[in-house]
């Protein structure tokens, strides 16, 4: 950056704020963060520019990428295929770490490391897709209900309350048990958790939209002749996304854990399929004798959730120009 004048960063206090009429006088000052002068900036391009410079975002994205590669090509990380029953040896059950079996062995003598790597796919697919589906459904309904108000809001809020009243594990159990066998068990878990998960996002989005829509800039947009779509997606959405991102990223971990609960109850992912939730459920009976088969999938689960929460936090901050 070789600016003739000291760069006036967005966070720095402005020197000219007291005397507005002089703002045109210097005419020399350049936007310090804009690489090329004259290139139009918008919330999203600025947010992207900002994100690329946030270590927290870069670290979380690297972790997420590694986890994704692990989910789709687990054989890159492990030479042992845990789906092959011959790799398990019952006589070595609950054995501690040894060369070739760094994380030790579980109750059935299978390699914990390989199972953790291969379990990533189911857990991450369930966590990510359930989060996506609940956020899209809840967010879309929430923004419409909050913006439209009146009858639309009343009806959709009552429907949401009905879903809220169902205890989520019980409800998911019911859905998963009813349609068991008819669909792929992972798809079924995603559907069951999504059906009961979206009302939370709906409520948060609706509340945020109601707060945002009473502000003057929305009135100003209407006075300009902006349509409902523009007001919802250009004005209300960016101003009510922050709490939704926080809740969605926290939900991601909850969903992975809920999948474990469903597996434990006998629906959802079942042996010989592998998931982190299933591994934790299997290992917890013998936790005191052999903690490692529980600790390793739990640590991977925590790292995954942490990475998504960090990414969500970074995105949320980048979307708020005041925090840049």
């Amino acid at each position: 950056m070789s600016n003739p004048t000291p760069p006036v960063g967005p966070g720095l206090p402005e020197t000219q704020t007291l005397i507005p009429d002089t703002t045109t006088a210097p005419g020399k000052e350049k936007e310090s963060k804009q690489g090329k002068q004259g290139k139009p900036a918008s919330l999203w391009t600025d947010a992207w520019y900002d994100l690329r410079r946030r270590p927290m975002f870069i670290i979380s994205v690297i972790i997420i990428l590694v986890l994704l590669v692990m989910s789709f090509w687990p054989s890159l990380f492990s030479s042992i295929d845990p789906y092959n029953a011959r790799t398990c040896d019952l006589s070595t059950a609950r054995q501690g770490p040894s060369p070739g079996h760094l994380f030790g062995r579980d109750n059935l003598g299978c390699d914990v490391y390989a199972r953790t790597i291969y379990g990533a796919r189911n857990s991450i697919v369930i966590g990510v897709f359930t989060t996506l589906v609940t956020t899209l459904i809840g967010g879309l309904l929430g923004i419409i209900a909050g913006f439209r108000g009146g009858m639309v809001d009343t009806i959709s809020s009552r429907v949401t309350e009905i879903f809220f009243a169902i205890p989520s594990i019980l409800g998911a159990l019911l859905i998963a048990a009813t349609f068991r066998g008819r669909y792929n068990s992972i798809l079924l878990v995603i559907i069951a958790l999504s059906v009961l998960g979206w009302p939370m996002v709906y409520r948060i989005m609706r509340a945020a939209v109601i707060t945002a829509k009473n502000q003057d800039f929305v009135v100003a947009a209407r006075a300009l002749g902006a349509g409902a779509g523009r007001i919802m997606f250009r004005h209300l959405l960016p101003n009510s996304l922050a709490p939704v991102i926080v809740v969605a990223t926290i939900n991601l971990g909850t969903f992975i854990a809920a999948e474990a609960a469903l597996s434990f109850l006998g629906v959802g992912v079942q042996s010989p399929d592998i998931s982190w939730g299933l591994m934790i459920a299997d290992a917890r009976n013998r936790f005191l004798e052999a903690p490692l088969p529980l600790v390793f999938p739990a640590v991977f689960l925590s790292i995954t959730v942490l990475a998504f929460i960090m990414m969500g936090d970074a995105v949320r901050d980048a979307l708020d120009p005041k925090l840049r």
């Binding site: 402005e14 936007e31 919330l43 800039f217 300009l224 002749g225």
Partner: protein, 338 residues
């Protein structure tokens, strides 16, 4: 100030009642807030009409109805021969180009998550045929220059500007579609006095440059006098007096106007001794249930029986030169300073 005689806005018998309802599922109307209750006026090209009145008298509702942000209960708002109160869809959108707004609070009237370029450029995105796409950014920069901001700040966000600068951004957004009428709803009341003067001067300069007509709503009487050609005084949803600024300020005919003017702070201590203070008793009555006849009679020292029986119309009264709505109108200089 340029003042053509071409009439561009005609408001006739404008009424806006907000229903008061009871019940949740089966709503029953039990009354109405008569926020604007029969307002008529004209506005000429390049003219400024100031509207003053205390809080809750219906000034902002009037602005919203003029901007077609609220549908009036009855009456018409005719802009260049077409009624915006009845326009819908594409026609309404086209008519909005002619009437734009500057809002009161510069801190909430700009989307905090849009750059200045996006905020001022939004009118062009909505009305795509006004400016070709490649031309828009240049236009936004021109507008920034016109309102006295640095065009290089196009990529900044509202929070990086002071209150006065933000109000300039709001004005630039209002100017983008090149409207003939701008409704200013208390555009300076959220600003410091020193900044108020700069914004008022900017509005006056823009008026001369673009031959704009302003409807200038405020509760600061001195600001209104400074900028207005004509002034309307509102009380409980109605105009009580309407005339040229000198007529209203030097020869007020309605007792309410006289009381309002007597409350204006006078900076000169000597002048302060000279003026009369008329202190009104009580609060304004509820707009849900206004008094019969003259609405001001409950607080008026001149009230007689006729005031309760017959509503005084807004018309030129004997001995006065402008319209007032009082049976006992007589001009009376309250301030005694010129």
């Amino acid at each position: 100030m340029a003042s053509g005689s071409e009439r561009i806005l005609e408001v006739r018998d404008l009424v806006k009642h907000f229903p008061l309802t009871q019940g949740i599922v089966f709503k029953k109307q039990i009354g109405a807030i008569k926020a604007v209750d029969g307002v008529s006026f004209d506005l000429n090209r390049g003219e400024t009409l100031g509207i003053v009145g205390e809080s809750g008298c219906g000034k902002s509702t009037l602005a919203k109805v003029l901007m077609a942000l609220e549908r009036p209960t009855s009456g018409s708002v005719v802009i260049n021969g077409r009624d915006i109160a009845k326009a819908k869809g594409g026609e309404l959108k086209r008519m909005r180009r002619n009437i734009q707004m500057v809002m009161q609070d510069p801190y909430t009237s700009l989307n905090p998550r849009m750059t200045v370029g996006d905020i001022i450029g939004e009118p062009y995105e909505i009305h795509t045929d006004v400016a070709p796409k490649g031309d828009r950014r240049k236009r936004v920069q021109d507008l920034l220059e016109v309102v006295g901001l640095n065009p290089d700040h196009i990529n900044r966000y509202p929070h990086q500007f002071s209150g006065g600068q933000r109000q300039r951004i709001g004005i630039a957004r209002g100017l983008a579609l090149q409207p003939e009428i701008i409704v200013c709803d208390e555009p300076v009341s959220a600003l410091d006095v020193s900044i108020q003067a700069q914004v008022i001067n900017l509005l006056e300069r823009l008026q001369n440059e673009f031959n704009l007509a302003y409807i200038f709503i405020a509760h600061d009487l001195s600001v209104v006098r400074h900028i207005s050609d004509r002034v309307g005084v509102m009380y409980l949803g109605k105009f009580v007096e309407l005339g040229k600024d000198a007529e209203i300020y030097d020869r007020p005919a309605h007792p309410y106007t006289q009381a309002l003017l007597s409350a204006v702070p006078v900076p000169d201590p000597e002048g302060r001794e000279q003026r009369e203070r008329i202190i009104l008793q009580g609060d304004p009555p509820s707009p849900a249930n206004p008094p019969s006849g003259c609405r001001f009679r409950t607080r008026c020292w001149k009230a007689q029986e006729i005031c309760a029986e017959e509503e005084p119309l807004l018309q030129i009264r004997p001995g006065t030169t402008h319209e007032s709505a009082c049976h006992f109108a007589e001009t009376h200089d309250v301030v005694h300073v010129s």
